[in-house]
């Protein structure tokens, strides 16, 4: 440790500490332009020049990279230092008149104008080199660099062409102190379909209430996975939590019961070309609209269009993909009520006009009908009729850039409603891999992909397979209260079974006589309950008696007659026949 005096204040610092860090510890502000704590000091803006007094000799050094090695005095605001700083700012003002940070710093130093001629009033690059260092040393992409030398020096891409090595990480724009570098495609524009701002951050917490609520790295955006460099996150993480080599792992558990709660997929309205989703701006699905309304969203919970403005009118279209011969015939059950909630949110958060386009209003639950009434009282325009087409409003008439076409069945007229934003209440649909899962678990799925319970009235949570239960939308569309109820029921069923510690088996099940089994494996594929496995060492098939339902399929199929159903052996059957006949 060495003791340093900065502007009359004493501090003890480790050797090799820079003056800038020592001054920061003392709350003494030394201005910087080309310094970024994540990047090795480049020390070229020279704005942080300070006086170091050592054995009565005064030296001018840059605070950002001067390593303290012995007891010295530092002066950060002597007349000489301030004079140099003023001259520096005056020169930078002449070079980059459009750089705001320079104007602010100059104003702080009492400088209003520069005495030097301004060649380019729009210039804002001060050649601090942060972007180049970032791109080369941190990102490792080498997409930008300095071209030419001296006063002709400029930041440029190789041969001034779009560089192939640029990975569009945006790090250069991020560190630019004057805003000279900008991402052209992402100027504060809200990309609704992704609901993110600007370039995608490679580390995100998916949303505020995410579980587990921890950040994760998206390899497709992460610089490290593209160039092998960067690793800034691990540098700044004080707890060494960043692991670049983490991968998905498959773990195996021994379990006694399974509750299937795999939920649903959101219906993608893109194939419904007439609705223009994905083609025209400001057409959102219900889930996207919900995410935008979340306080943790990039819009901060505000309802805004892609250009950042508030919509003048919003249309909410029901039954998108539900109750539709072409997509899903069933009713998704939740849309009516969430659509009403959206209408309420729009009314609450903005002055926009709201149109509800419904087919049938299904406000069936407790308090639902009252909520519907409240919406009507709030002045929401409720139109009975399915929204059939959305097109851009080319005439510009009315309060909206889009036109929603529908047939108002109550007045029996065809209508075109101009709106700025459309929310599509898309259907709930079974997960795309539901049938795969059903096969794995040996349970059944219906034509729509929803899992089938063992009995529609008496067994609403259990399945045909013992120990496997259903909860939530995977069994069929339902709202949150219903889901919670079914989940609780499934848990109770599972607990009941686990609490017994053993299960009562049926006395009847199939058995294979090993000495007769030829190992043909015909039975393996036939078993509808996956109860038969093949023993590779003995080359014979085995029946898992706990899984066998004694259906007899394998017994009938076995070419050697090695399989017998307990209590239903051939001898027993023959004996029974004989008993009847005699």
């Amino acid at each position: 440790m060495i003791s340093i005096e900065i502007d009359g204040k004493q501090i003890e610092v480790e050797e090799e500490t820079t003056i800038l860090n020592a001054a920061n510890a003392l709350d003494i502000k030394i201005p910087t332009l080309c310094y970024n704590e994540l990047i090795e000091p480049y020390a070229v803006c020279r704005i942080c020049v300070v006086e170091v007094i050592r054995r009565k000799r005064t030296r001018l050094v840059t605070a950002c990279n001067y390593p303290l090695r012995e007891s010295v005095k530092v002066r950060t605001n002597s007349e000489r230092v301030l004079k140099l700083r003023r001259m520096n700012l005056e020169l930078l003002m002449a070079r980059a008149p459009a750089a705001k940070i320079i104007q602010e710093m100059a104003a702080e130093m009492g400088l209003e104008t520069t005495r030097f001629p301004i060649e380019n009033p729009k210039e804002s690059c001060i050649l601090c080199g942060l972007c180049v260092q970032m791109c080369q040393d941190v990102v490792g992409a080498y997409a930008i660099g300095f071209a030419d030398r001296g006063s002709k020096r400029e930041v440029s891409t190789p041969y001034e062409r779009t560089p192939e090595t640029c990975i569009l990480c945006g790090a250069c724009a991020q560190v630019c102190p004057t805003g000279h570098i900008r991402m052209t495609d992402a100027e504060e524009r809200i990309i609704h379909s992704k609901l993110s701002l600007g370039p995608n951050a490679a580390i995100t917490i998916p949303f505020r209430q995410a579980i587990p609520n921890v950040p994760r790295i998206h390899a497709e955006h992460c610089i490290h996975f593209k160039t092998g460099e960067c690793m800034l996150c691990s540098k700044v993480c004080p707890k060494d939590c960043i692991h670049y080599d983490d991968k998905d792992e498959i773990e195996e558990f021994e379990i006694g019961a399974v509750i299937v709660a795999t939920g649903f997929d959101d219906f993608d309205p893109t194939p419904m070309k007439q609705l223009g989703y994905g083609r025209y701006p400001n057409i959102l699905t219900g889930a996207e609209f919900e995410q935008m309304n979340n306080a943790g969203s990039p819009t901060g919970g505000k309802i805004v269009m892609e250009n950042g403005e508030e919509p003048r009118s919003v249309a909410i279209l029901h039954c998108i993909g539900s109750r539709d011969e072409n997509y899903h015939k069933y009713c998704s059950r939740v849309c009516c009520m969430y659509a009403l909630k959206f209408a309420h949110l729009v009314k609450e958060k903005s002055n926009a006009e709201v149109y509800q386009l419904y087919v049938d209003m299904r406000a069936f639950g407790k308090g639902y009908e009252e909520f519907y009434q409240r919406i009507l009282d709030e002045g929401v325009n409720v139109i009975r009729g399915k929204g059939t087409e959305i097109v851009p409003n080319r005439s510009g008439a009315g309060d909206g850039a889009l036109l929603v076409r529908c047939e108002d069945t109550l007045i029996g007229k065809f209508r075109e409603i101009p709106v700025d934003m459309v929310v599509l209440c898309s259907a709930l649909e079974a997960r795309s891999d539901a049938t795969d899962l059903a096969r794995k678990l040996n349970i059944s799925a219906g034509a729509d992909g929803w899992f089938i319970e063992s009995h529609p009235k008496l067994g609403p949570v259990s399945t045909t397979t013992e120990g496997i239960y259903l909860a939530g939308v995977c069994q069929g569309p339902k709202d949150i209260p219903d889901t919670v109820a079914q989940g609780s029921a499934a848990a109770a069923q599972a607990m009941k079974m686990l609490a017994q510690g053993q299960i009562l088996m049926d006395a009847a099940y199939a058995e294979i006589a090993e000495e007769f089994c030829s190992g043909c494996r015909i039975c393996n594929g036939l078993c509808p309950y996956n109860a038969i496995s093949f023993d590779e060492t003995k080359k014979v098939s085995n029946v898992n008696s706990a899984m066998c339902k004694a259906c007899g399929t394998c017994v009938a199929a076995c070419p050697t007659g090695a399989i017998a159903a307990r209590h239903f052996t051939d001898e027993q059957i023959y004996a029974q026949i004989e008993g009847i006949l005699v």
């Binding site: 020049v49 140099l84 006063s151």
Partner: protein
């Protein structure tokens, strides 16, 4: 080696070669063959003789008869008279401007008399492409002595005691540098020879390498042994193809003789040298930029708060010295500390910065009679260099200033002629030793224009990495341009001074840190000239063309030139009118003051007022 009766030493330095000295050598050889003297007389091409202004040069040894300004047609006569009949040829000898008497012997010529050759000890005496010549002149004895009888510490102590300081310009004590490099942690260590001589008008390093490349290699071997290195680099600028070629030859010869390589002198000491070519950036002469360039990165300097002796090339301890420093090392080893410290100023026994010891090579150019390369003891006065060795200013013009240290140095006025040349005194006067360029100016030079010239150079060569050098020198140059265009104001001078101090104080490397020196010294010694430019809109030396008014003397135009009309034809602005055989005149409103008419008129009819 076969003894010869006489040796004709033909200078093959760059200056003489461009004046056809190689053809002259051929002519000598043919003539000698023709006269049947081939067994008696040998023709040798040597490195730069130093007296470049008198080239092409040939010296006949062992008599030391100096022939200058040779032409091919002189050779048959010279060979017949001197080599055959033994009668030296006076008309090809040097004649001092003031005395009109031929001086036959080289060592009697004032230019050579005042010199003391240490780094240039073999100049004109050996064939640089022949290692035997170098060995015959005691070459590689110093490295043999060091490797076989001395320890690295003894070598460092010796160099430290000699008071040798870096000849590249900074004047850092060489021994101190070697010691810190030896002590620095890290392996491997590197030694580098900086031969990126970029100052305008400087050609010391080039001459040493072209004339005596082995002296540099030998110095590097000694340095490598002292700091514990086995790998060295010589960074030669691209513009020195001959130097590079001779270095390659020298390195190969030294390797062949076991003087470089795995087992030097059979001692087991290993050291080899590789050449790296610079690409023409002046800033690459700065040590950190040079190392970046050797590493293959962009040649830009970095802050030297962490010294290169600790973290230099590839972040390893690195000992970098200039060509002249390396070439001086063997001489110190052989002739001893006492001899070396007896030359020069000050006392280095206590403080290595206490004085300037030994000799320094200067390239003397500009308005001087004896243009060339001189090596003089430290402490010699400027007057002795310029008027005794250099032979004074030509055409009887008045000496005005001398610029030392290249674009980083400063201008010294006539009142400082008795200044002793050493590191401290030059720095105190606002200039610096630099690498040794010396440009002499007479009354026809405009100091504002000269300051502008050097600043144009540094401004153009600035790498642009740090703001003060990039922006500051640009604005300084703009102000100087304004002044020489007659648009300067009094405030400009204040701003110019402020900017100069700012650039010196805040720049990242020594290029920016010394770039304003030419401006500051001219402001210090020739402020009056700036004021005349600003106040009276006049250039006293008539150099700044925008301040000149061109007129035509009708009398001279008609009587001497017969209205030749060359000026009218050449004037790009069509500002000159006149007819053949009649006096021409300049339309002042149309004149853009380019000065072309003044340059093309052979009859001095164009006048500047």
């Amino acid at each position: 080696m076969k003894p010869y009766r006489a040796n004709v030493m033909v200078c093959a330095g760059t200056g003489c070669v461009s004046n056809h000295s190689l053809e002259i050598k051929k002519a000598f050889e043919e003539e000698i063959q023709k006269r049947g003297l081939a067994d008696e007389v040998q023709v040798v091409t040597t490195g730069c003789n130093g007296f470049c202004g008198a080239g092409p040069i040939a010296v006949v040894q062992p008599d030391g008869i100096f022939y200058q300004l040779l032409k091919i047609k002189d050779i048959p006569y010279l060979v017949e008279e001197h080599l055959l009949k033994g009668r030296p040829v006076p008309r090809l000898m040097y004649v001092p401007p003031e005395e009109k008497i031929h001086i036959p012997k080289m060592n009697d010529i004032a230019f050579f008399k005042g010199q003391m050759l240490v780094a240039l000890r073999n100049r004109g005496m050996i064939d640089p492409e022949n290692i035997d010549d170098y060995i015959a002149r005691d070459g590689y004895r110093a490295s043999a002595k060091v490797l076989t009888t001395m320890t690295p510490d003894e070598v460092i102590q010796m160099i430290e005691a000699s008071g040798l300081r870096g000849r590249g310009g900074g004047g850092f004590p060489t021994g101190v540098k070697w010691e810190s490099c030896r002590k620095a942690k890290g392996e491997p260590r590197y030694v580098i020879c900086n031969a990126d001589e970029g100052d305008p008008g400087a050609f010391m390093d080039r001459s040493i390498i072209e004339g005596d490349p082995h002296s540099v290699l030998e110095g590097m071997v000694i340095g490598a042994f002292a700091v514990g290195s086995s790998e060295g680099y010589i960074y030669v600028r691209q513009e020195y193809p001959l130097a590079r070629e001779r270095l390659v030859i020298a390195i190969n010869q030294a390797r062949e003789y076991g003087l470089l390589g795995d087992d030097i002198f059979g001692t087991g000491f290993k050291f080899d040298v590789d050449i790296r070519r610079g690409a023409g950036a002046f800033v690459c002469g700065e040590s950190t930029a040079l190392m970046a360039s050797v590493e293959g990165r962009v040649g830009e300097p970095r802050a030297k708060y962490i010294h290169t002796v600790e973290h230099g090339l590839w972040n390893k301890p690195t000992c970098l010295n200039n060509v002249e420093t390396w070439a001086t090392i063997p001489a110190i080893i052989m002739r001893g500390v006492d001899w070396f410290t007896s030359i020069g100023t000050g006392d280095v026994s206590e403080n290595p910065w206490g004085g300037s010891k030994g000799t320094k090579v200067f390239s003397v150019a500009g308005k001087i009679n004896n243009t060339g390369l001189v090596e003089v003891p430290m402490g010699i006065t400027l007057r002795e260099i310029i008027f005794d060795v250099g032979g004074g200013v030509p055409k009887g013009k008045k000496f005005k200033a001398v610029q030392t240290g290249g674009p980083s140095g400063g201008f010294l006025a006539a009142e400082l002629l008795d200044l002793q040349v050493d590191y401290e005194q030059l720095t105190e006067a606002g200039s610096m030793m630099g690498s040794g360029g010396m440009v002499i100016m007479d009354e026809d030079n405009c100091m504002v224009d000269m300051a502008k010239y050097f600043l144009t150079f540094t401004q153009d060569e600035s790498c642009g990495k740090c703001a003060p050098c990039r922006e500051g020198t640009l604005r300084m140059l703009q102000i100087l341009q304004r002044i020489t265009d007659g648009k300067g104001t009094e405030e400009d001078l204040v701003l110019l001074e402020d900017l100069s101090h700012y650039v010196i104080d805040s720049s990242l490397c020594a290029l920016g840190g010394s770039a304003p020196n030419p401006v500051l010294t001219t402001l210090r010694y020739f402020r009056e000239e700036y004021e005349v430019h600003i106040r009276d809109k006049k250039c006293p030396a008539r150099v700044c063309r925008q301040l000149n008014v061109y007129t035509i003397d009708p009398n001279l135009c008609v009587t001497k030139g017969h209205g030749c009309g060359v000026c009218r034809a050449q004037c790009p602005e069509k500002a000159i009118v006149g007819e053949k055989n009649k006096a021409h005149s300049v339309i002042q409103d149309a004149c853009k003051k380019c000065g072309v008419c003044y340059d093309v008129c052979k009859f001095d009819a164009i006048q500047i007022s």
